[in-house]
Symmetry: C2
Subunit: 207 residues, 2 copies
């Protein structure tokens, strides 16, 4: 089973690495990071680079597509070549998935029209502009399309997906392997839960 | 504030990227990935590489050290050069932290003697062989040393650390930015919670 994770300039690393760290345990998979050019692809603020070992043109098809988001995703919503590639991957895929604003790319490729979907909470309007209905769930399965909410939600998505691809015991064994027993020190992980002060700070910029 | 994340062959990507994705939001920080040689450093099973932009010898000191774990960590427990470097970094650091079996490296460097510490649940014996007392908590602060449990715990650790470095509102704003509102589909993230079947499957190897 071939899993492909496309990378692009200014992606968000955890969007990609969260699912990667779960799905790499699945029996019989290989995972390939791909980009327009081979070599290191930088995140924001450019302190991290993950190597693309393949180019998009190298890859004719895949079984599972995992599209990460990040600030760079919004700049690719009119990139015809990338959107064509996403549509081609989706055509042959068993599962087409996204994390965070990766769903905007699926939306721009026309894959979410009429579906319930999710994205980072700050990108709801853009998601809906592609004909999807934003639903405030962490992970949404719609046929073979799976969208996850912001950044860290990719871990939850990948565990749910792992159970569908194999079975619940396998997904639980993976959860144990990565000791995913989350204990966030605060309860501020969604706009509904975060304090007014935290929301205001984020809106004006933490850094 | 300079944050350094050392990489080594066969590290675990999420150990490094979880804290990175949190700490990168802190005001006034820069984060540097470092390794013996500059360039891509591979994980297990070698499908992922993160670029080291600096070498260990480039780095004289840092404010925050984040040591990831991974299968490769166990092979470095007698690597005198790396352990010397870790001790030097610790000498000048404000915070010295580890995720997963990264704590074995801190232990091998003699930094955990007499302290409570944690690590991946499968590495407890090795941790204790360095004179630390394993404690089944997700994140343990002991003076300026902070150890976190397996793989995904680095996110929880980094949020707690972010609050100490700045304040709780800033840490909550970061939690909101990465939409860290975990909803694992199963409750199997620790040996105490996982089913016997999941534990048995992991013990004999999922792949």
């Amino acid at each position: 089973m071939r899993i492909v994770i496309p990378l692009f300039d200014r992606f968000t690393a955890l969007d990609a690495v969260g699912p990667y760290e779960v799905l790499k345990f699945l029996p019989g998979v290989e995972i390939v990071f791909a980009a327009t050019e081979p070599g290191p692809v930088r995140d924001v603020p450019r302190w991290l680079a993950i190597t693309a070992d393949a180019t998009f043109t190298d890859i004719d098809s895949c079984d599972v597509l995992v599209v990460p988001g990040g600030p760079g995703a919004r700049e690719l919503l009119r990139d015809g070549e990338l959107l064509d590639w996403l549509r081609r991957m989706h055509q042959g895929s068993i599962w087409t998935t996204s994390v965070c604003t990766g769903s905007l790319l699926l939306g721009a490729a026309g894959l979410l029209t009429g579906l319930s979907a999710t994205t980072h909470w700050a990108a709801i309007d853009v998601l809906e502009s592609f004909g999807a209905t934003y639903t405030a769930e962490r992970v949404i399965f719609q046929g073979k399309i799976v969208t996850a909410a912001g950044v860290s939600s990719g871990i939850d998505m990948a565990l749910a997906l792992a159970a569908r691809i194999t079975d619940q015991t396998t997904a639980e064994a993976i959860q144990l392997a990565i000791e995913y027993d989350p204990q966030p020190p605060f309860d501020a992980g969604s706009p509904a839960k975060a304090s007014r002060a935290a929301r205001a700070l984020l809106a004006r910029g933490i850094r």
